[in-house]
């Protein structure tokens, strides 16, 4: 594996390797170990052409804990906001000797464009591209689910996960559908029909328009952020109606199984897709997802960058 562009490129074995590695790395971070020398002398660039403080900080913490040098290249005030092309940015990073680029971009496929062209030679890690994929988020979600519900198994066989909300525009949903099904879990998407993509019936998952009928069946429920601008785009009448049918509130939470967990990739719209009571409940693993994010991103960096470049390069 040289790049991490899409969950679709991963085999179950590769995905499990990343999760297993993250498990061991999480164990080291439970102790007092603050820093590992593994990626000393390697340069990782965080190329964030779209604002995302959470993901950037998580990747930065992961890289620094592995002793890599981190360069942050963010949208505001950078040449990207001044209209520099992706190609020119990539060639700049190449000239700076970047071993890996973690890229967040508003255009679907931006990470793949970076990897497929000969603009730079380093690894490319997709930290969210448009409405396409967000592989590291899916890996940390799978990691969190496995930790809570995996019963010691390395896969997610027999686990049922609901993903609720704006599936149409969600890169988190796309990556999670691919990864969770790859690892053996059953996935049900829940959304109003306007927020499910045409062609969703060909995805490796089920879908429903009715949250209340799905909640009692699942082991984990993942709530997605609903952007305010979707209302002006006619996807649903207003926030109140959305919340009434698709918001996870305390009453709905009571219909969940005893062991079921509540997840959210953040940032949350409290009161819209999730009520404060649910977000702060004992079932909520939302802050733990953030913690796990660092271990999983360390694992991604380790798997992509720690080995010999030649071996790594030849395997994709």
């Amino acid at each position: 594996m040289k790049h991490l562009l899409s969950i679709g490129d991963l085999s179950a074995i590769e995905a499990t390797t990343i999760l297993d590695t993250a498990t061991e790395l999480a164990r080291t971070s439970d102790g007092q170990i603050k820093k590992l020398p593994t990626l000393r002398g390697r340069t990782i660039v965080n190329l964030f052409a779209e604002d995302s403080t959470r993901t950037r900080i998580s990747f930065e913490a992961a890289a620094k804990r592995l002793s890599a040098d981190v360069i942050n290249f963010s949208a505001k005030g950078s040449s990207i906001s001044k209209g520099e092309s992706l190609k020119d940015t990539a060639m700049t990073l190449q000239a700076m000797g970047a071993d890996a680029v973690v890229i967040r971009h508003s255009a679907s496929g931006a990470a793949q464009r970076l990897a497929d062209n000969q603009w730079m030679s380093g690894s490319v890690i997709n930290a969210g591209d448009g409405t396409h994929e967000h592989p590291s988020q899916a890996l940390l979600d799978a990691f969190t689910i496995r930790k809570h519900l995996g019963k010691g198994s390395s896969d997610l066989q027999g686990i049922h996960v609901a993903i609720v909300g704006d599936i149409l525009h969600s890169r988190v949903a796309r990556s999670n559908v691919l990864l969770l099904s790859l690892l053996g879990a059953k996935v049900t998407l829940v959304a109003p029909p306007t927020l499910l993509p045409i062609g969703v019936e060909k995805w490796p998952c089920a879908f429903s328009y009715d949250l209340d009928s799905v909640l009692p069946l699942v082991d984990a429920v993942m709530m997605l952020r609903v952007q305010q601008e979707r209302m002006t785009e006619l996807f649903f009448p207003n926030a109140r109606e959305y919340s009434r049918y698709y918001g996870l509130n305390a009453e709905r939470m009571r219909s969940l199984k005893q062991s079921a967990i509540v997840m959210h990739p953040g940032p949350m719209n409290r009161g819209l897709e999730i009520s404060a009571e649910v977000a702060d409940s004992a079932r909520s693993v939302i802050t733990e997802q953030v913690t796990n994010g660092v271990s999983v991103r360390m694992a991604i960096l380790y798997v992509l960058l720690a080995g010999s470049p030649l071996e790594v390069g030849s395997s994709k």
């Binding site: 390797t17 297993d20 590695t21 061991e24 790395l25 164990r27 080291t28 102790g31 007092q32 170990i33 603050k34 820093k35 590992l36 020398p37 593994t38 592995l66 380790y302 798997v303 720690a306 080995g307 010999s308 470049p309 071996e311 790594v312 395997s315």
Partner: protein, 178 residues
């Protein structure tokens, strides 16, 4: 191929190492054994069991993975990370005995010392190995050795343990030149 240590030889060597560790440290009170995965971890468990029988009390025993501290990571494909399991007692001010199967260049042990430094500050660090085959590249020496096996660089030493390989033996193999 020749058998350097039989099952009985390994068993005797481990018993002797156990006694030597106890003798050097005036008993087991302050000892923590840390095996280096994969085979060193199993050897540490065996030594801990022998020492427990002698002492009549259980000996803290864990594992210390050195993968993340290796200086040759970039020379090979990515390696799987093995568990690091530090016993409850921790290693602060303890006499830590590192256990590995073969001592060769010394680089593994250098990495282990780095890894240990991230965990805590032991009082002393000692090294027990089943086989010392020489060819050191760093100023490192074992405190307890099962058997010295002077070998040429063309030879390789293969340690088999029943926990992983189904039988106990150490063999010397001469690599076939391509």
């Amino acid at each position: 191929m020749s058998i350097a240590l039989s099952s009985e030889d390994i068993s005797r060597a481990l018993t002797r190492i156990s006694h030597e560790i106890l003798e050097r440290n005036h008993g087991s009170r302050n000892i923590v054994l840390l095996g280096i995965p994969t085979r060193g971890a199993h050897l540490a468990v065996r030594i801990a069991e022998i020492m427990s029988k002698i002492e009549g009390s259980s000996i803290p025993c864990g594992t210390l993975d050195i993968t993340l501290h290796r200086d040759d990571l970039r020379l090979r494909p990515p390696r799987a990370i093995m568990p690091t399991l530090i016993p409850q007692s921790g290693i602060e001010d303890k006499d830590v005995v590192l256990v590995d199967d073969v001592l060769f260049s010394g680089r593994t042990i250098r990495s282990a010392l780095d890894a240990l430094g991230e965990v805590g500050r032991p009082k002393t660090v000692q090294l027990a190995v089943l086989v010392d085959r020489g060819h050191r590249e760093l100023p490192i020496k074992a405190d307890f050795v099962g058997k010295n096996l002077p070998s040429s660089l063309e030879q390789s030493i293969r340690v088999s343990l029943s926990e992983i390989d189904g039988r106990d033996e150490v063999v010397i193999e001469t690599r076939v030149q391509p």
